[in-house]
């Protein structure tokens, strides 16, 4: 461009020179040169306000730091308190690798023993189902107590949620209790069978009291069967004449 700026037409220098001459055009030049210079000077000189702004930012940063540091410290304290309260929540890696297989074996053995005990106590009808259950338990991966399930770090609540509630056998419940405490084994028949109860409830509606009056005016009636006593009862009423 600079080469282009050099004038190519030497013939027309006069009128161009006239245009360049500020003296020929006094109206077109700057009216107030000082004011224009002031504007330019203000642009050129770095403003002191910027320094102030920097100080404001620094002060704001300091305030933020003073607020944040105690908050972070408080959080750390809270975390340490939680760790102290539940030291087994996050076990060490080495501990998990060494101990977990032994614990699982123990649990399996205890679960098997408990199942055997229950099997001996049950009747022939229940034997088959219990044995089947015990087999299932041994085949399935062991459900360990919350304290001992450290290998996968799965919370016990999650394990319970994953299991179908209706299919959860008694032996599994025993296994969940852990190996340290030996709880009293209760047979399923001792807990009571819910199925006859529902039957009896249904039958109650079918029962109707019957009264039989004999010649000697002894009245025999059937009372409504209760849940505890579902049989056919005969009561003697007080209307019978005394001999």
């Amino acid at each position: 461009m600079e080469t282009g700026m050099l004038n190519e037409n030497p013939n027309n220098l006069n009128w161009k020179n006239k245009l360049e001459d500020a003296g020929g055009l006094p109206e077109e030049i700057l009216a107030d040169k000082n004011a224009t210079w002031e504007k330019l000077h203000n642009r050129l000189v770095p403003k002191p306000r910027r320094k102030r702004i920097v100080w404001y930012w620094a002060a704001a940063a300091c305030i933020l730091i003073t607020i944040i540091i105690p908050l972070l410290k408080a959080d750390k304290k809270h975390d340490s308190v939680v760790k102290k309260a539940s030291p087994q929540a996050i076990p060490k890696k080495g501990f998990v690798k060494k101990v977990v297989p032994l614990q699982e074996e123990k649990i399996m053995a205890i679960a098997a023993k408990e199942i055997k005990k229950t099997v001996t106590l049950t009747q022939d009808v229940h034997l088959k189902s219990e044995v089947l259950l015990s087999k299932d338990i041994l085949q399935k991966p062991a459900i360990v107590s919350p304290k001992l399930n450290t290998q996968n770090n799965i919370p016990p609540v999650q394990i319970m949620e994953q299991m179908p509630v209706q299919e959860m056998p008694v032996a599994n419940v025993i296994a969940l209790l852990g190996n340290t405490k030996k709880l009293k084994v209760v047979h399923i028949n001792e807990l009571g069978d819910p199925i006859p109860e529902t039957h009896s409830k249904q039958r109650i509606t079918d029962y109707r009291p019957i009264q039989i009056r004999l010649i000697n005016q002894e009245v025999y009636s059937t009372a409504l069967p209760s849940i505890n006593n579902p049989g056919f009862n005969i009561f003697k009423t007080g209307n019978a004449p005394s001999n």
């Binding site: 161009k16 006239k18 210079w37 330019l40």
Partner: protein, 184 residues
């Protein structure tokens, strides 16, 4: 004070040297700006921007004489003017392939005063005026103009020929004074 000395001091950040340079060059630069930008306020704004860039980039400038300094500063000003015209979107050029290469009535223009020449140029439309200024006064060729304005070379030529036609027309309208002076 010597301009070279002023440049040296201005490079070091001397405000007084910068003011001296501004006082020396601002009038001529204002005339350059006014040729491109019609409004006096806009021209002043362009002048300020141009001088700001000049002082900011002064450290990279090697002083080789007054003419070189003038050319460099003028180039900055012209670029600033073109930037303003582009920003304001007043720079509309209709593309035309054909262009007549009309001769400029140099003699007629030489006989006019600076103010008359200035008024003739300023009266031209923006597109004509810009191409005329760049070609006839700054001495650029059509390729350079096309590159600066983002137009084709042919468009630049047609704009120039139309500008010259319009100038001749305006010269004829003010012909009485021109003829009288020529006859004398």
């Amino acid at each position: 004070m010597d301009i070279a000395q002023l440049i040296r001091e201005a490079k070091q950040g001397s405000a007084s040297a910068q003011k001296c340079l501004f006082d020396l060059l601002s009038d001529r630069m204002m005339l350059v700006c006014r040729r491109y930008v019609k409004s006096a306020e806009d021209a002043e704004e362009v002048l300020l921007d141009g001088f700001y860039k000049f002082f900011k980039n002064l450290s990279s400038f090697n002083f080789q004489g007054d003419a070189a300094l003038y050319v460099w500063l003028k180039k900055i000003m012209v670029n600033e003017c073109l930037m303003l015209l582009r920003k304001k979107n007043v720079f509309t050029i209709v593309t035309e392939a054909t262009a007549e290469d009309l001769p400029l009535e140099e003699e007629a223009l030489n006989n006019l005063s600076a103010k008359e020449i200035f008024n003739l140029i300023v009266q031209l439309p923006v597109g004509y005026r810009t191409v005329f200024n760049l070609y006839e006064i700054e001495g650029m060729n059509h390729k350079e103009i096309g590159g600066l304005l983002g137009i084709a070379e042919g468009t630049s030529k047609s704009q120039l020929s139309k500008a010259k036609l319009l100038l001749q027309k305006n010269l004829l309208q003010n012909g009485n004074g021109y003829v009288k002076r020529k006859s004398k």
